[in-house]
Amino acid sequence: MSVLLIAEHNNKEVRPFTLNAITAASQIDTDVHVLLIGNNCGDVAESLSEISAVKKVLQAEAAHYENYLAENFAPLVVKISENYTHIVSSANTFGKNLMPRIAAHLDISQVSDIIKVISADTFLRPIYAGNAFATVKSTDSKKCITIRPTSFDPCETSGGSAPIEKIEPTEEFKSSKFIKREEVKSDRPELGTARVVVSGGRGMQNGENFKLITDIADKLNAAIGASRAAVDAGYISNEHQVGQTGKVVVPDLYIAVGISGAIQHLAGMKESKIIVAINKDGEAPIFSVADYGLEADLFEALPQFLEELNKLNSIQK
């Protein structure tokens, strides 16, 4: 058995969830090969080869691989799939977009978003927004799997010296064209991997009020999250959305402010280690998953919270 792991990267560095996916892949089998598809991505190949869990790096470079179009990536994966029993990637927007295209080309019924490897063919995955866990067994001879990154620890990034093998690129798919990517640059930790997340919901009332959230996030070195309601209302941009159709986060501390706690939001955060809810509606469902609930008006509570955090800081100094 060998596992082919499709790396996510930006041609300069490995994207963090690739490390979680390598951990999942190595739980299926220790013979993990990483496929790097990109353009001028030599540095990424080097850093992947230094990962101790990686036995081989396969690198394909071409101009049409620059922007990760699934239509260009899938044929290459299919071409080299013969040597592998499992094809794995992260269940983030990268892997979600790509893996089903590979699976269908190979006539494989994909297993999406697994949270546990039970054996080489049996996996645990959440269904119904995490309200049920299904144990599923793939009967296809080859498996296509996406893994939920927050359910697997990132692998060690050193200690290895895997060979880097160059492979021939496949042809360009002409009917799809990348135009642009608008990434929001931020000095904050990434939402998906942050140790602390502070999230705002409809209760924030407008985008300006998110300043109350960012002040606290600054203090706690936290990422900023949001409910779908807050994103839909235009208070904050889409990459902040936590939930069934947004991102799944598992921080040590999740602070939900003005978020009622719809099932779809809980799906994205209820595995967090400690959950704090601040909401003026004492009956809000968010309190049912909160370790610490504060029934209060957020416009009073957040400034006080900031003040208390400042006090703590000055004591610690």
Binding site: N97, P100, R101, F178, V276
Partner: protein, 249 residues
């Protein structure tokens, strides 16, 4: 331009889903069923395109049990012109749905196929991409904005890093995000009219599609419950608990 929109009947998004005691699945008896929410966005977008004079026909299709035609009727009530039900029994995996859709696409020859980016029941997020692969068409997934420029679609996609814009040539598949538009409600007269719109019923087996599951569901269980938390009286107590008890700040 002809648009095929795939829809799915799922447990309503407001229902608190419960696991069956015997571990064979979730409770669906006497549970409210609805159309999969992002599929409503897919229908809405198709209707808007037709209203703008850029599409001539909208076909709503579902693959599922007999009752799934309710979902097709709902699509007809908000503006689809005719419907198709591909009838199946039991669990149908995304790959089988994609194969059934492929057969219909080959027959109906639409220029665009729209559907929701994921179904909120199995949360697979596969069907659109699989159909694109089977047809070797471009795929524009997680779309939050679509602009039609002759035979090219400019699609804004919601990705983890922010937004991405791609152009795809028609024919193409688009999977729709909830932020693509605001789905309309069907008016009562339109619901009545929808009952008279044509709805063709086919069997998956007649299309030559094998829907036998390839992934066995061994058991379904409740996720681990969180321990009940406490309410704190004020912010000072909250900060003290986070600092001294939970030790997370």
């Amino acid at each position: 331009m002809k648009i095929l929109v795939a829809v799915k009947r799922v447990i309503d998004y407001n229902v608190q889903v419960r696991v069956k005691e015997d571990g064979t699945g979730v409770v669906t008896d006497n549970v409210k069923m609805s159309s999969n929410p992002p599929d409503d966005n897919a229908i809405e977008e198709a209707v808007k395109i037709k209203e703008a004079g850029k599409a001539t026909e909208i076909i709503a299709i579902t693959v599922g049990e007999e009752k799934s035609q309710e979902t097709v009727r709902k699509a007809l009530a908000v503006g689809a012109d005719r419907g198709i039900l591909v009838k199946t029994e039991g669990t149908v995996e995304p790959l089988a749905v994609a194969k059934a859709l492929q057969k219909i696409v080959e027959k109906e020859k639409p220029d665009l196929v729209f559907m929701g980016k994921q179904a909120i029941d199995d949360d697979c997020n596969q069907t659109g991409q699989m159909l694109s692969a089977l047809l070797n068409w471009p795929q524009a997934t997680f779309a939050s904005k679509i602009e039609i420029k002759d035979n090219i679609l400019e699609v804004t996609r919601e990705i983890d890093e922010g937004l991405e814009t791609i152009e795809v040539n028609v024919p193409a598949i688009v999977t729709c995000d909830l932020r693509l538009n605001e789905p309309r409600y069907a008016s009562l007269p339109n619901i009545m009219k929808a009952k008279k719109k044509p709805l063709e019923i086919l069997n998956a087996s007649d299309l030559g599609v094998d829907t036998t599951p390839r992934v066995q569901q061994i058991k379904v269980e409740e996720p681990p419950k969180r321990k009940a938390g406490i309410k704190v009286a004020n912010v000072a107590e909250l900060v003290s608990k986070l600092k001294n008890e939970a030790k997370v700040i």
